[in-house]
Structures are given as structure tokens and as C-alpha cells.
Symmetry: C2
Subunit: 184 residues, 2 copies
């Protein structure tokens, strides 16, 4: 497969979450130069929180792209920097969005998915947090208004099968979590 | 949960795949007006192609957002319009990217995922295509250069577990496919 060099980067429009940008690339088969558009973003993170009783903590929140209430796991932007940034962000998002926390040793990296390899530059990390419990109040961002619910693994599988969990990163994380469980 | 009305839509910057746009919304708890940015896009589609021998057809292609070769299932933009548009697009993408096709009756809608509910307006449809076979040449878009490979379901599960399939929509579709199989 041909080399793919992305040259002549230009920032076009910044938003609070990502910056629309462009670069030029030689097409692999024709050697013509084409301009591509991508979204430069910080990494994202989400976390599958599991209680001592084996329930999975889900959240419901309005999502501005789709314009609908979405059933998800907690998650957000990796705002921290440095070593273990995505893990620190996962802990913060879980605490802020739900008031639930887990001991540090109960966090485990499940996997990372691309933000969307066709158009985003970033990665989205998925963690598992075991034995989560309610330890404090929620601290919503100004635009957030989140409801939580606890569901059994069987119920979460059913939500996936029925298409009720349709955030791609979170469906991918939960699917992978169940796949790994099945194999162990 | 509060009403969420998205008013005063503005198109900011069009790209060939999506248009960066904004709208204003009243924050649910403070009643302040805030501007949100979203990406208006046509729907997307992908397809899990399964051969008569039970192998899953995967593709490898360069992805411009991530800047890396990505292991995926075939997919693309729903360019067709009207009834069954996503199904027609799924068939076209499979044929163009791999030269493989399946009989019409062998396509089945698996699920649909949001483009990304936080930032995209669109949906991404996932189909299963059974008994696919090579029936013609590939017809790549000008920027495409795609390799195909056939993998057993067990190998695909291993790729997922190892994080080698990291396109979120495609990992979600494959995870859901295996989850549904386990439950039947």
C-alpha cells in the first residue's frame, strides 16, 4: 500500500470540542494531490461502572448532535494531561456525572477505539470500574442534566440488541466487555 | 428532564462529507442560551460480509483522520436516496470496495448506531450480508486503495479483543453480531 503523507495542514474553524482542519495528500493510485478535511480533537474516554452487586451503571442525557436523549455509559473529554491522563479523566467523568467512584485499583483499561478513523484524529479510551459506589454528589457541567440507572448485564445486552444504546463508542465498549467475559 | 429545542441553526463550513453547523439552546438547569456546534452529515452504512464458508470479509485501508491503515468491514456514505437507501448503499459499498456481492435476500439489518450523538446529526446503519462471493472487479473511489482479507469469526473476535479493529461503528456492529449469535 502506498505511502500516505499528510502535508500542508490548515486549521479552518475551532469549536470547544474539536477544530475543523485540512491537509493535502497524494492519492495512492493517481498521484494527484487532494485536500482532505479532518477534525482535530483531544482524546475522549468512557467507563463501564459495575457495582458490587454486578449491576452496570448507565446514564441518560440529551445529546446535541442527535437531538435526542441517549442511553450511555459515563464519559467525556480527556481534559487532563500527562501520565495516565485518560484514566484520570475517566475517574473524573464517572464522579462528576454520577457521584459514583471506585478505588484506584478497580480501574482497568478495556480498549481504545478511534474517535472515527475516517474523520477524527483522536482516540477514545474505554475503562472498566469495578465495585463502584455512590460516594458524593454529582457535579454537572453547565449544559449537563443526567439521569442514572442501574441495569443487569442481561438487561444491557438486551438494550444493545434492541438498538437502545446507539453511541458507537459505548456500544463498542460494552460489546467488547461482554465478548471478553464470554471468552474467560 | 427539560425540553431541548435547537434554534437558530447556522451552517458554518461545508466539507464533502459533513457541514459544520451551530445552533442555540437553552441550558436545562440555568435557562441560559448557549451555542453548540454539530456536524450535519448524510447517514453512513457498513456491512458484515460472510462467505458460504463462514469467513468474515474484512478490509484494510488508509483512514485520513487517524492517519493510519485501519482494519474494518466495508462501508461508506449513504449516497442513495429514497426507500431502502441505506441498504442500496450497503450493497454498493460492498461491491465497489471488495468486488464481492450477496443476493438481495441475504441482506439483513443488524442495527443502527448514531454517527456520534454528541456531535453528529446522522445515523450509521449496519447490515449483515450472508453467502457473499466474488462476482466482479473492485471500483475504488479516487482516494481509495483497499486490501481485503478473510478471517474466521474466532479470528475477528481476537482482533476485537486485541484492539486491532478500532473503528467504533464497525467494532460496535461486530460486537453486536457476536452478541446476537451467542443469544440464539
Amino acid at each position: 500500500m502506498a505511502k500516505h503523507e499528510r502535508n500542508n495542514w490548515k486549521d479552518i474553524y475551532p469549536t470547544p470540542i474539536y477544530t475543523l482542519a485540512s491537509f493535502d495528500m497524494e492519492l495512492p493510485r493517481t498521484q494527484k494531490i487532494k485536500t482532505y478535511y479532518v477534525l482535530k480533537s483531544k482524546d475522549w474516554v468512557n467507563v463501564i461502572p459495575i457495582t458490587k452487586e454486578g449491576k452496570i451503571l448507565l446514564i441518560r442525557q440529551f445529546r446535541h448532535g442527535l437531538g435526542e436523549i441517549s442511553l450511555e455509559i459515563p464519559g467525556g473529554i480527556v481534559d487532563e494531561e500527562g501520565r495516565d491522563a485518560s484514566l484520570v479523566s475517566a475517574k473524573r467523568e464517572l464522579r462528576e456525572e454520577t457521584g459514583f467512584t471506585a478505588k484506584d485499583e478497580n480501574y482497568e483499561l478495556l480498549s481504545k477505539f478511534s474517535g472515527n478513523p475516517a474523520m477524527f484524529t483522536n482516540w477514545s479510551y474505554s475503562y472498566i470500574a469495578k465495585d463502584v459506589e455512590k460516594t458524593g454528589p454529582v457535579e454537572f457541567d453547565e449544559g449537563e442534566d443526567i439521569e442514572i440507572l442501574l441495569a443487569s448485564p442481561e438487561e444491557v445486552k438486551q438494550y444493545l440488541v434492541e438498538g437502545k444504546i446507539h453511541h458507537p463508542h459505548m456500544a463498542a465498549a460494552l460489546g467488547l466487555y461482554f465478548l471478553k467475559q464470554e471468552r474467560t
